[in-house]
């Protein structure tokens, strides 16, 4: 039986994971673009990303593009599985 994931269920993290799940596997999204798209401040977004990264749900990659630091995010296979499980659990609750 599918279970609600406590980490993903927080509204901001649900939106972050939804965004990453909409990408093709191994695709990445830029940190600043993600914060802008979800209307989250850098600090707020960073805190949620840390929680997700510590849980092993996302991968954070830092690089330099034109000598400027860039952070790219992608969902891990574990995060993808947990998110799908979370969505299945939400659907089960809806059917109750």
């Amino acid at each position: 039986m599918a279970e609600i994931d406590r980490i993903i269920h927080a509204p901001a993290r649900l939106r972050i994971m939804s965004t990453l799940m909409a990408l093709a596997p191994q695709s990445q999204v830029d940190f600043r673009a993600l914060g802008k798209a979800l209307d989250l401040t850098d600090g707020n977004l960073g805190a949620h990303l840390q929680t997700l990264e510590e849980a092993g749900y996302i991968k954070v990659e830092k690089s330099f593009v034109d000598r400027k630091p860039r952070t790219h995010l992608s969902v891990t296979s574990k995060g993808r599985a947990r998110f799908e499980d979370h969505v299945a659990a939400l659907r089960e609750i809806c059917r109750v």
Binding site: I4, D5, A37, V87, L90, R91
Partner: protein, 230 residues
């Protein structure tokens, strides 16, 4: 049900653990209790975010490219209407301008916030579609006949070709709209029907009709993408 009793939680702060008391609305080890309404709201939010993300990906640099092709259609079909003696290679020049411009505009759109693992699938999909259209265009066209023979045996060939190439991208619009935005389903269906109406009933002004309806629809959809897919 989840407990509403205050719960002691250990928090490590760069050293020895300290104890603090905090209000907890749920047990740390348990899944949160969610009502069906909350679950439905969460699912709706997931759908909304997924759609927005797909639109952002699809948008890429597509808006200026679609507008460019709209203008090219206006020029090309307008020319066929008002200057029917213009040689056919004029369209070839317009196509070269469109393809070169599309590549240029695509390069400018590199600031896309998404790094695709599998490259620009949407751009490749369009290329495949036009390659498919071109293959059958070449295979089925009466290219072994000279111009007088074409005029004799296949009347209105120019109109047929124009209608064919107008409906090919509209077919893709309808398919794309099913995934991304209903706007494109309606736009693709509208232009396809308008093209057929023009082909059968507005024969004398068909190319002007296509310049306005076909080219205009591309410009409108480009502006729509630019304004709404953010």
């Amino acid at each position: 049900m989840a407990s509403h009793q205050p719960k002691k939680i250990k928090i490590a702060v760069d050293g020895p653990a300290i104890l603090c008391i905090t209000e907890c609305s749920m047990e740390q080890d348990q899944a949160p209790a969610i009502t069906p309404e909350e679950a439905r709201a969460s699912l709706a939010e997931i759908d909304r975010i997924v759609l927005l993300t797909r639109q952002t990906i699809a948008r890429g640099g597509s808006a200026p490219i679609v507008i460019l092709w709209g203008v090219i259609w206006m020029i090309g079909y307008g020319d066929m209407q008002f200057f029917p003696q213009t040689p056919h290679w004029f369209w070839a020049i317009l196509d070269v301008v469109g393809i070169a411009g599309s590549f240029r505009l695509g390069r400018w759109s590199r600031e896309s916030p998404v790094k695709h693992a599998h490259g620009g699938r949407i751009g490749i999909s369009w290329l495949i579609l036009f390659a498919f259209g071109a293959i059958w265009f070449i295979l089925l066209g009466p290219w072994s006949l000279n111009a007088p023979q074409q005029a004799k045996y296949i009347p209105d060939l120019d109109r047929k070709i124009a209608a064919y190439w107008a409906t090919v991208p509209m077919f893709a619009y309808v398919l794309m709209g099913l995934w991304l935005d209903r706007f494109f389903v309606w736009l693709g269906a509208f232009v396809t029907i308008a093209t057929l109406v023009g082909y059968f009933y507005i024969t004398g002004y068909f190319f002007l009709w296509m310049a306005v309806i076909g080219g205009g629809s591309l410009v409108v959809s480009g502006v729509f993408i630019r304004k709404n897919w953010k």
